[in-house]
């Protein structure tokens, strides 16, 4: 069938990035409240970040276990309501609320029908000031968490992540973000109550409220509900992450694995760094989106993998780059070869101007997409606040992206994406893949 050749329509005139106004208030108790009006559907999105990093040294792993169980049991009761009551009340409000801990913070995320916002905030206040950690429930959740950890650790991606973090961070608290079962088993309800009293504190915490409610009203409601959240504790600063240097690849044995899970980890510039925009574009060209070289090579040309991806993230103690691909076992060495080639290329050979422009347009366009829903906007405001940045940083970043040159990308690639700067971890069947990998790289077996 021959179709007439048709012209690809040109893009219309781009609209400027809309960055909504954020109301920024710090309450007397130290809690910072960020509020944005976004109408859309009659809902309100909430994100609360409480600094919660683990201490350095021997207390670190125990903290990770406590933080994990604390987030799992926070909704198990307060002075006034038991677990069932809390769950039913949340449901009645059209409310969702989840609590999770990571290496930096305890995070509360949820949403509620606008009509339920005052009652939702009251419930949140109870969790922050009078969580009960009842013994029976804590013990039950503790057993459940131990079983869940076994399930997590049976997946190759989790094995790879744990090995990578341990290798990148050594004795720094970031080396472990999933607790050990034995540390979880040692946690008592009293330890959770004590941790809650010491670390769930308003000073340093940020609450983001986005939705179909005026910022002044949202802030007043928060103030009314949370002004009684008082605590003498002070936030713990996570120490700077260690300098990252490339390490010999680690191969972790997973018998019978039909794929090898490949991860590369390294340092990355902070969002405020002068070379951040260039690095984010270098990362895109390498493997940060579908139209990247890595995807074109090991997926669309060679079919070694389904979804290779490289991304930057920004934990408070130091930004990082993590790139990963799960490749068929029999092509593990060829896939590593091509991956090292693409990393080497972005670090040593200038990108084509069109590749740069394409990545730039993607980076600029997706800035608008990330803020185009209540949940997306709330996440963006909250994440940036976690790095000490205002939402208007998006505008500065857009301006910085506009200015990046081919030379800037080469420099950023050499500094952050060079294979010698990265730490590779592979999880797969050692008996099948080790020999051929040794033709390319030295290996440490784990």
């Amino acid at each position: 069938m021959t179709a007439p050749t048709r012209t690809v329509p040109a893009l219309g005139r781009p609209k400027p990035l809309k960055v909504p106004a954020v109301s920024d208030t710090t309450l007397d108790n130290g809690l910072r409240v960020l509020a944005v009006r976004r109408a859309g559907v009659p809902l309100v999105e909430l994100r609360l970040r409480v600094p919660f990093g683990a201490p350095t040294g021997k207390a670190g792993p125990a903290h990770v276990a406590k933080a994990s169980l604390l987030s799992d049991t926070l909704l198990m009761g307060t002075d006034r309501r038991d677990a069932g009551r809390l769950a039913r009340d949340l449901q009645s409000l059209g409310g969702m609320l989840s609590v999770g801990a990571d290496a930096d913070r305890l995070g509360f995320g949820g949403s509620v029908l606008v009509s339920g916002l005052p009652a939702y905030l009251e419930l949140l206040a109870e969790l922050l000031t009078s969580a009960a950690f009842p013994k029976h429930e804590v013990v039950g959740e503790r057993d459940r968490l131990v079983q869940e950890l076994a399930i997590h650790r049976s997946t190759a991606g989790v094995v790879a992540r744990e090995a990578l973090l341990a290798r990148m961070y050594g004795s720094h608290p970031y080396a472990r973000d999933l607790p050990l079962a034995e540390d979880v088993e040692a946690v008592t309800p009293a330890a959770l109550r004590s941790l809650h009293a010491k670390r769930v504190v308003p000073a340093g915490s940020v609450l983001t409220v986005v939705g179909d409610v005026a910022p002044a009203k949202a802030t007043a409601l928060v103030e009314k509900a949370l002004r009684g959240w008082l605590s003498g504790g002070t936030p713990v600063e996570v120490p700077r992450a260690p300098e990252q240097q490339g390490r010999v690849p680690l191969l972790v044995h997973r018998p019978g694995s039909v794929q090898t899970t490949i991860r590369f980890g390294g340092a990355a510039p902070a969002r405020t760094s002068p070379d951040y925009a260039a690095t984010s574009l270098a990362n895109l060209v390498f493997g940060g989106y579908f139209s990247s070289r890595w995807v074109a090579n090991i997926r669309e040309d060679k079919g070694y993998t389904y979804s290779p991806h490289s991304g930057l993230d920004h934990p408070s103690a130091g930004s990082r780059l993590v790139a990963g691909a799960d490749v068929a076992t029999h092509v593990t060495a060829p896939a590593l070869l091509e991956s090292l080639y693409e990393l080497g290329r972005i670090a040593t050979v200038p990108v084509a101007q069109e590749e740069l422009d394409q990545a730039r347009r993607y980076a600029l366009g997706t800035l608008a997409l990330t803020t185009a829903s209540q949940a997306g906007l709330a996440g963006q405001v909250s994440q940036l606040a976690g790095s000490g940045l205002p939402l208007s940083w998006l505008r500065e970043h857009a301006a910085a992206l506009q200015k990046v040159t081919v030379e800037d990308v080469l420099e950023a690639g050499a500094r952050w994406l060079a294979p010698t700067r990265l730490t590779p971890v592979l999880v797969g069947d050692t008996e099948v893949v080790a020999d051929s990998l040794r033709a390319l790289v030295d290996l440490e077996l784990g």
Binding site: P42, G84, I151, S154, A363
Partner: protein, 436 residues
């Protein structure tokens, strides 16, 4: 009579416009200027159920091929144009439909329509691209199923227990043998048969002028010739008359799991179907739900409890026949029978003792909130509107759903629970083989 309508605040009110081209393409437009972005989604009325015997996984493989080149575009150009205009894109294959979508800055609306029209016009296939995508799909199956504990449980492993016909029971990801047997001729035939404009719905949501969109749609899609549509076959098969019990061994899983499935009424009949939607949430939505309360909080026999409608967990996008599923992960020392018996007891209790208005009202409140959250992003709105229009001729369900959910009564939920019996259900037991 108390009013059944929810408070005005808990409703959606979107502007919905629609059109239809002479070639049969149906168009739904949802203008919204809140952000300078647009979502474009095309739904083809063909999914895993329609793939031929000996070609398991073909609908999904074909979805991959739709990104490999079309009338005026070479391999990877579809991605390059969308991402190079600042957009994101994907496609997905379901039991009853295959969709393609992109979300972009709204100045790329016409481009997105061109791109979707170009591959509706014709798909450009080469043997090399076919073989490449077979390898990619095999790696997708490895990462999501073969190399992952609980991979494909229960969405791939339950249908052969619950259903008999090839259409309803086969593995929609496909066997490696079938995938490797796929030919270019198969692909062309599949395209000719199912990817006709009259078998598709196009939805556009976001910062657009509907009249302008319709003009562009006419320009880009209007000259794609209409084709005779395949008559959509009935996939109906008789329900179960005795319990079925299947077992799947998972060498990677460290702990056992069990799934239970019952058939629901035909989703086309919303009045009969929606009580099952409320029922599954009464049973499994969060710690206030009956099975969570029983298995997680009281008995402490389970590590996780979930429940949903549809093989793939989407309640409002499947046709008949379709299941209500409950999935429970539990500790090795808890026997599967203990879990199944507890589920039975809870169903009996609901069917016998009933439930009160408050339980249904609070369950519906959260369902409504979750639904509104899903349709707040332009993509969620476009995809819901497209599937509602395709399967029900009713894009307006986007606005109507909260009120319909609010009309479900406790009696209807109880009556639905009474139909989930021991003798008409399928049980799938997952036996772990991994080191705990």
């Amino acid at each position: 009579m108390p009013t059944k309508t929810p408070p005005r605040a808990a409703r959606a009110a979107f502007t919905i416009e629609r059109g239809r081209l002479d070639n049969g393409l149906r168009v739904v437009i949802l203008p919204d200027t809140a952000s300078p972005v647009v979502a474009v989604a095309v739904y083809y009325d063909v999914g895993m159920r329609s793939e031929p015997e000996g070609r398991t996984g073909f609908a999904h493989l074909f979805e991959h091929l739709m990104f490999q080149g079309s009338a005026n575009l070479g391999k990877t150009e579809h991605f390059t144009y969308v991402q190079g205009s600042g957009g994101v894109l994907n496609g997905s294959t379901h039991v009853d439909y295959t969709n393609y979508y992109e979300v972009l800055p709204s100045n790329a609306t016409e481009l997105a329509l061109f791109l979707e029209a170009d591959r509706m016009r014709s798909v450009a296939l080469t043997q090399e691209n076919l073989e490449n995508q077979v390898a990619v799909v095999q790696n997708e199956i490895r990462v999501n199923v073969q190399n992952r504990p609980y991979g494909g449980f229960p969405w791939i492993s339950m249908p052969p227990v619950l259903f008999d016909s090839f259409a309803n029971s086969h593995d929609g990801y496909g066997s490696f043998v079938d995938l490797e047997a796929a030919t270019l001729a198969d692909a062309q035939q599949f395209f000719d048969r199912y990817y006709a404009p009259g078998n598709a719905v196009l939805a556009v949501a976001g910062d657009v002028d509907p009249a302008q969109v319709m003009t562009w749609v006419e320009e880009q899609f209007g000259d794609i010739p209409g084709r005779t549509l395949p008559k959509r076959p009935s996939f109906a098969e008789p329900g179960l008359t005795e319990e079925r019990w299947g077992v799947v061994d998972d060498r990677l899983a460290p702990a056992p799991a069990v799934a239970l499935a019952w058939r629901t009424p035909d989703p086309a009949d919303l009045a009969s179907y929606l009580p099952y939607y409320v029922l599954v949430e009464v049973l499994t939505d969060g710690d206030a739900a009956r099975l969570q309360d029983r298995l997680l909080l009281r008995d402490r026999t389970a590590t996780s409890v979930g429940g949903y409608l549809g093989v793939m967990g989407d309640p409002l996008d499947a046709r008949d026949p379709t299941p209500l599923m409950v999935e429970v992960h539990h500790a090795p020392e808890v026997g599967v029978r203990t879990i199944v018996d507890a589920v039975d007891e809870e169903l009996d209790r609901l069917a016998t003792d009933g439930c009160d208005t408050d339980e249904v009202r609070r369950t519906v409140a959260r369902m409504t909130a979750r639904y509104l959250r899903d349709v707040d992003p332009v993509l969620g709105r476009a995809t819901h509107a497209a599937v509602f229009e395709q399967q029900r001729d009713r894009a307006e369900l986007l606005d109507d759903l909260p009120a319909l959910l609010a009309q479900v009564t406790p009696d209807q939920v109880v009556a639905a629970a009474a139909t989930l019996r021991r003798d008409n259900r399928a049980v799938l037991e997952l036996r772990p083989g991994g080191a705990a």
